[in-house]
Symmetry: C2
Subunit: 448 residues, 2 copies
């Protein structure tokens, strides 16, 4: 015991007071609704997993980026989940052949990264995960992208403000090979490309040379990476700009056709510079970026056929996406799509705010509140000792209540006064029918 | 890399597949709605805290019950949160004098305990926390209990099946002192009482003796602990049965009066054996138990005045409660209040299930789905290649869809057939007005 001292949240984590929590719930509800409307079903897993679930696919190198631990006296190594895909793969694997295909799952868990906090990257964050198991390319990807776009649209974004930037790892591999990258260096070349935007040009060149690319190849690679085009362009033009043959980019046409049919084409850009850092991705990969280019990726995803069998399950095709709350919130705030008041206006509005103007009324107040609450209404009261109606109604307005329920001398005859705090209209209502009356008025209001 | 191997969730944690997740969401939504209806506002904090936030109030002894860790290369000790009250106290302390009083907060985070998993106790669980800061006894407690009871009632429980068992630490302290417990042994005596139900009688006696109680005192203590009475009994009778003076139990009468006014009296029992293990509780303490006595406590709470100042904040009165999902789910299941199908029937029902009976129709299907989804409808389709209407409708019924949208030759004229899967009625609808039509039918159905 150290007496009085002050404590803070761990670096890179957040305290959510009611306004901040209202913003988080707003985003999570849009994610959840979009997932359900698109036919995904919600799952969740443990906050921590056996450490080797993460090392099996990413190697020991990932350990320094994890919060790992043992139980006192225990022998198992655990880690806080840095991403959800390994948990999802483990859960799919555990179902084995009983898993109905396709399976469309979503989850909104917290994730943890033991790296230095910076803009857009925290040590604890929430991430929407959307995955399709058992659909091949491009059907699975389009299902995932449709859900992502639906959520972004409901949050107020449009194709002018955000774009899904898609590429294909096979085409990028063909490009790298044609430029002279030896097969064993391809994973390292993908990692290098993933950092293209963040590396100074000469550092990019130096690292490219170390992978076996000469100066001319690096120049051509640089030109390819920036050959960004609207997804509605002919596939042949894309291949030419990227410097691969039409055959090497053959898989882009079915993707374009599926995106077109689902009304998603205008949301999408072909971007050969997108490769994604994660080792297990194959085929189509994508990131969602705000078009201004100021922030990190809002979301990223791709195909991970083979991962489920790696963790003991059947050999299933699978693809998915993760969208974190931190960068998304920055983008929404930049674009004026979150309340300027930090979230106060997103807090739930009370349906009724009950005030008592006499001792008799005050004695009756708790049962009036209980009656309203049992009827499913959000009901509050003032905790002031005041009997001043003006002050009490100021409390009601401060929390944006819809109706004030004023208890005064009328309680002796079982009557209260209901005041509509928007219109100012008021009328007497029997206390016994208060809940029905208010529920009816609120239903009528929301039907308008 | 170790090739194909199988992985499992860490011991004492859970995988939530869609049906289990639907059950969890059902319970969490009842908790959330009850909190909001009672005027509580939602907060959240980090999943892990600095370790000393837990040791400052509970001592070093708690460390063995925690999952604690450091970041690789870091110097700070962290622990996964075993309970939410320290985080809440820290957050209240950080607001200092700017915190509006009273403040009513709730949270539904996950919690972690590094102990051996057993029935009703897991290593990761979800807990509903309901707290009132700035209201004294008994007003704060009644606000908390009202929210708890509202949630339990909405989950299908009633006063015959669960009871809030209340006691008062001051009265129990007076009893222990009158029986000869030296002042410094009171905390240990509280801990012993907290285990009364779980210790064999002679072990209870042996430990009581070690605290300075003679055989006669132990017999009287045993009689006091079981002097359980309905909360509606006169306070004098309770004091007598418990073996304390009316003055020593004086604080029970205002509590009874407040519970009566809020219509909660029948949900409550006076139980002198309730003391709560946590060191920081004072005054009124309570647990919620199912009346059969088969399970652990569904919830527990009490007053923790002084805790907020201990972590650096102002000296504020505060009380609260935690209700975990594990024991609650066992009680609900025992009582038949959760679906017998493990949750399948709680999964979200699709509003529309679209099927295509021709190639032209299949080409149109994605845009029909997108139109329904953008309108806020939950829309699915079959992923079978089949054009057999019977098989496709079987898929629609399997996921309990409300309407089937059948696309066939009519798509050429922009028309689809809508079939109500409950009544079997069907009619042709223009594809352009499908979403409006279905939304109107669903609204009419839910208004009935």
């Amino acid at each position: 015991m150290s007496g009085t001292r002050s404590f803070q949240a761990p670096k890179g984590t957040r305290d959510f007071y009611p306004p901040q929590m209202a913003v988080r719930r707003h985003i999570e509800e849009v994610w959840r609704r979009a997932s359900i409307d698109c036919g995904f079903e919600e799952i969740d897993g443990p906050t921590f997993e056996h450490l080797d679930l993460y090392t099996v696919k990413s190697g020991e190198g990932i350990v320094s980026e994890l919060f790992s631990f043992r139980r006192a006296g225990g022998e198992d190594d655990y880690a806080l989940r840095p991403e959800f895909t390994p948990t999802l793969a483990r859960m799919a694997a555990a179902k084995g052949s009983s898993l109905a295909l396709p399976t469309k799952w979503f989850a909104i868990p917290s994730h943890f990264r033991a790296e230095r906090p910076q803009r857009g990257r925290l040590r604890e964050f929430f991430q929407w995960n959307v995955d399709v198991i058992g659909l091949g390319e491009p059907d699975g990807e389009v299902e995932v992208i449709e859900a992502a776009v639906l959520a972004l649209e409901r949050l107020g974004l449009d194709p002018h403000r955000v774009q899904v930037r898609l590429s294909h790892r096979d085409a990028v591999a063909a490009l790298l090979t044609s430029l002279g990258t030896p097969e064993p260096s391809l994973p390292a070349a993908f990692e290098l490309l993933d950092r293209f935007d963040r590396l100074p040009p000469d550092e990019f060149a130096r690292r490219g040379e170390a992978l076996g690319l000469d100066a001319d190849s690096i120049a051509r690679l640089r030109a390819s990476v920036v050959a960004v085009q609207p997804m509605s362009e002919p596939a042949g033009a894309m291949a030419e700009a990227m410097g691969v043959t039409a055959a090497q980019l053959a898989s882009i046409e079915p993707l374009q056709e599926r995106l077109r049919r689902s009304g998603l084409l205008e949301w999408c850009t072909f971007d050969p510079g997108i490769v994604r850092g994660l080792a297990y991705y194959k085929g189509i990969v994508f990131e969602i970026h705000e078009t201004g280019g100021a922030e990190r990726a809002v979301a990223g995803g791709g195909r991970y056929d083979g991962l489920i069998s790696l963790v003991g399950g059947p050999d299933l095709s699978a693809c998915g996406m993760g969208m974190g709350d931190v960068v998304l919130s920055l983008v929404l705030r930049d674009r004026g799509l979150l309340p300027a008041d930090e979230g106060e206006s997103l807090l739930p509005r009370p349906d009724a705010f009950a005030v008592a103007l006499s001792d008799d009324a005050a004695a009756r107040l708790p049962s009036v509140l209980q009656g309203l609450r049992r009827a499913g209404l959000h009901a509050r009261s003032s905790h002031r000792a005041s009997r001043n109606l003006g002050k009490l109604l100021a409390d009601a307005n401060k929390c944006r209540a819809r109706f004030a329920v004023i208890l005064d001398a009328g309680v002796a005859e079982g009557s209260a006064t209901v005041k509509d705090l928007a219109s100012g209209e008021q009328s007497d209502v029997a206390i016994a029918s208060l809940a029905d009356e208010l529920a009816a008025r609120i239903a009528a209001e929301s039907a308008r």
